[in-house]
Symmetry: C2
């Protein structure tokens, strides 16, 4: 393991001062062309690479944006990440990603690690555990230190930029669509009842069905959902299902398939799932498309704006979801 050569060592070899080397490598007007060339050649020869840590420490800037994500299993978050990536890749900024696996402790650690000089700004979707605990102490005050942008998961107590999804409206509209289609008894299934996102979507459902029937809500594990749905379908108690996340969507799909109620639309099903999966199911699954890429692109752009104008008022942007109609509705 041989260490990288430093400016100091280079200056010794070339018998010039440290500052001359530094200036030459940074193409300063103060240095003559000939020495510049000599120094640059030596730098290349010895494979000199500036130590980022030192540069960043000195300049107080890192040109890096930290992205803290709960999970990559979640297709939506992965898509958001790609949106962020795409935008940032066109700028002088780099991104570094930290995954919390929906754990509060990992999130605290990630935020601490990043916010202490490693990045110029943080884009975060808080973890499920954080939302359950409602403990945001690691984020409070952070906005005073570096720009902070939260997306997808709502946290009201923090003053920062936000990019949110219209979770309430999206489900409200989708369920209303089912009602207009003549559905009389719509069940809700969810594996994400602990998150702000899940709660908003559930509220959208509850309000949408309130004139039609009492809410029928099944929350919990995929297995639980499958069991409950199975008996509801057997007893012909429902004619439609609204699923709030990929796991519950696929659970509902499996049961619907098993009971042979999807192809003939005895039961209508609208879910949340990735495009590639939804399209390839038979029958293809009607979903609510959250436009994850757009959430990512919007977040990144808003953050870039904030980095340029740190003093301006924080913004909240809402990205509207749309129903992607396929064959289960």
């Amino acid at each position: 393991m041989k260490k990288n050569i430093t400016i100091k060592e280079l200056s010794k070899i070339l018998e010039v001062s440290i500052s001359t080397v530094s200036k030459a490598l940074n193409d300063s007007y103060e240095i003559s062309e000939s020495t510049k060339q000599r120094i640059k050649e030596a730098a290349k020869l010895y494979n000199y690479k500036p130590n980022k840590l030192a540069v960043n420490l000195k300049s107080g800037k890192t040109n890096t944006i930290g992205v803290v994500l709960p999970s990559l299993k979640n297709f939506f978050l992965a898509r958001v990440l790609r949106g962020i990536e795409n935008v940032i890749a066109t700028t002088q900024y780099n991104i570094i990603i930290s995954i919390t696996n929906e754990s509060f402790e990992k999130e605290v650690q990630s935020v601490q690690t990043l916010s202490n000089g490693l990045v110029d700004a943080i884009i975060i979707a808080v973890s499920e555990e954080t939302q359950i605990k409602q403990d945001f102490s690691h984020l409070i005050g952070l906005e005073d230190e570096i720009p902070l942008l939260m997306f997808d998961r709502e946290v009201n107590s923090i003053d920062c930029d936000r990019v949110l999804v219209d979770d309430y409206d999206a489900v409200f509209n989708a369920v209303n669509g089912l009602i207009s289609d003549g559905r009389k008894s719509i069940a809700l299934v969810s594996c994400i009842n602990n998150s702000s996102v899940g709660k908003l979507r559930t509220k959208g459902y509850i309000v949408a069905v309130e004139n039609t029937h009492d809410p029928i809500i099944i929350e919990g594990s995929e297995e639980h959902i499958e069991n409950e749905l199975s008996s509801l379908i057997s007893q012909k108690k429902i004619d439609a299902i609204m699923a709030l996340d990929q796991e519950s969507s696929l659970a509902a799909f499996r049961i619907g398939k098993k009971k042979e109620v999807l192809l003939d639309k005895t039961i209508a099903l609208i879910g949340y799932s990735s495009t590639v999966i939804s399209e390839h199911l038979t029958p293809s699954l009607t979903t609510i498309d959250q436009h994850g890429k757009n959430v990512g692109v919007t977040s990144a752009k808003l953050m870039l704006k904030r980095l340029e104008k740190p003093q301006e008022k924080r913004e909240s942007i809402i990205i509207n979801s749309t129903v992607q109609k396929r064959l289960t509705s």
Copy 2:
């Protein structure tokens, strides 16, 4: 934007020396309990957080491992990442992730950025473009500076640790399985003919079919594959398909479905795709499972070992794939 308080400022406030503050915060035996307490309280009060940049620069260690990935769309790579994550999360190390979008230029940039002090080690799967160009100049010599581990994509010219997948054998065995099942004419479809992975898999196919028939190879875009397959199936020229990646697998699946040759196994199909997708297709898709998680876990463990013993001989570990038999074969 108020800057983080520093040890220096803290020392001024408390009217003690900088070194005393530093030692107190690091629980040095040299400092009395009472001053320790006083200093720690003040640190908490003023929300002191050590500047990572300075700490890392000083110590020459970052406790961070850089992971350079070509893409997150690739389910296999995403799974590897989760494997790495899981292992690293149990250690004192953090990981930072950089995505190259299969671009050579981005890869060079990522490696440069990371290797200049930002991380203690790099785990990388080179991009497709890098493999096409066969330009590894950004990696040559890197192993002398920090531990380097390459996974999935083979690059022979670099001396470093490796975790590879048995691409040749996997396809060879799968195709042989098809032959044992009585398949007489097996087509190969691939969207990844430019990568080392694709080439190895193709070779496995070619050798496997050589006693049975001439190879039938369709490489290119999904659309091209769909067109070619469509006519081959119509002309009854084939009775099985081996697909080398998710895109071609799904393209083959779509055509097989359209031509109604999958359910009755007129055409057998083995592909590469994520479990969640493969399972939910109708009929469910037989795939080659590369055990991505295991690749990630193995890579992370090997890297941790290398960080402990930098001098020991580099290793190459091969993770064997297995055929996950479902209903298309």
